[in-house]
Assembly symmetry: C2
DNA sequence: ATCCCTGCAAAGGGTTTGCAGACGC
DNA sequence: GCGTCTGCAAACCCTTTGCAGGGAT
């Protein structure tokens, strides 16, 4: 969910990440914690590239390879989620402390809005049972035109008509 | 849905495509109809590349550019659907005459199973109204482990334990 | 001291684009 | 004949990989 960052949240997720790395016998490098910090000081969805460039701007010498590597780790320990909103471009969002939700994307302005519906959970467990799948996660995206883009479209259609009449 | 091809279905979709091209003042090229034919003689999901190579095998000189171009057209007139099952790789499936459905993907063997649930439609219209979106389409994918891969996992876990004991 | 993790740059894979020639209209 | 569509190849974009050096344990 679009979020206000609680000041202590970053500490919490760092502890979770730290425990995860320890459990998996992975190294606690500065780079990994810098990346986590950068992510949790952000809002909404982001792409790997903008995360990379923003970190660079702050004069941390972190490579793309490390960014991608760390994103994978953070997905594994459930601190972020990865999405594909139709394009060949992964988008990520932090997930600690936010309840499960899905997305509506405006096909005109690409705005992403979040929503929750308990029926998804029902479908998930019912279909898992029915088809004998052990379902681990899902991705539900709705695509359409948001309110303001609907208006824009109407206005454009109107002005086109105007031209035709003249 | 996984399909048996009715013999007359290819003619039907060609007519639809033809009417669409006419309406949009686009040209009816042999390439476009060849591609449509190839798609509708297939089953299940496919990727642009395999479509391209299969057409090539049949000695039609059709380029990748044309394949991608035609896929876009076929999406526009609702004769095919485009999916992204988590990877940066689009998958397509024919959609004429098949009812709306969603997908469950096995994360181990990548098998894709289809399912329908009327609640999706309800969520769609309710959320559209609630958030003032004119929703045009959606994509719902569930990810998990299918029955046979669950067994495989159990067997592997068991044999690992065996090794540890010895 | 070990060897996992890093930065860098290049490769990779899917998709898109630019251009000259071909062909539907 | 005009202008769109095509084939080809190169470019493009995001992501992954190979390698040599560096830092966590």
């Amino acid at each position: 969910m679009t979020s206000n960052n609680r000041p202590d949240q970053i500490e919490e997720v760092k502890n979770i990440f730290s425990a995860y790395l320890e459990k998996k016998d992975l190294r606690k490098t500065n780079e990994r914690f810098h990346i986590l910090e950068e992510i949790y000081s952000r809002h909404d969805h982001f792409e790997a590239e903008s995360l990379y460039t923003d970190i660079r701007k702050k004069n941390f010498n972190i490579s793309r390879a490390t960014v991608y590597n760390t994103l994978e780790l953070l997905i594994s320990c459930d601190l972020i989620k990865k999405h594909q909103f139709g394009k060949n471009l992964a988008q990520y969002e932090k997930s600690y402390g936010y309840k499960q939700h899905d997305h509506i994307i405006c096909v005109d302005c690409k705005k992403v809005v979040e929503f929750c519906d308990p029926r998804i959970q029902q479908i998930k467990s019912m279909m898992g049972e029915l088809l004998n799948f052990k379902i681990t996660h899902h991705s539900l995206n709705m695509y359409g035109v948001c309110g303001s883009c609907q208006k824009k479209r109407e206005m454009e259609a109107a002005s086109k008509k105007e031209v035709e009449v003249n």
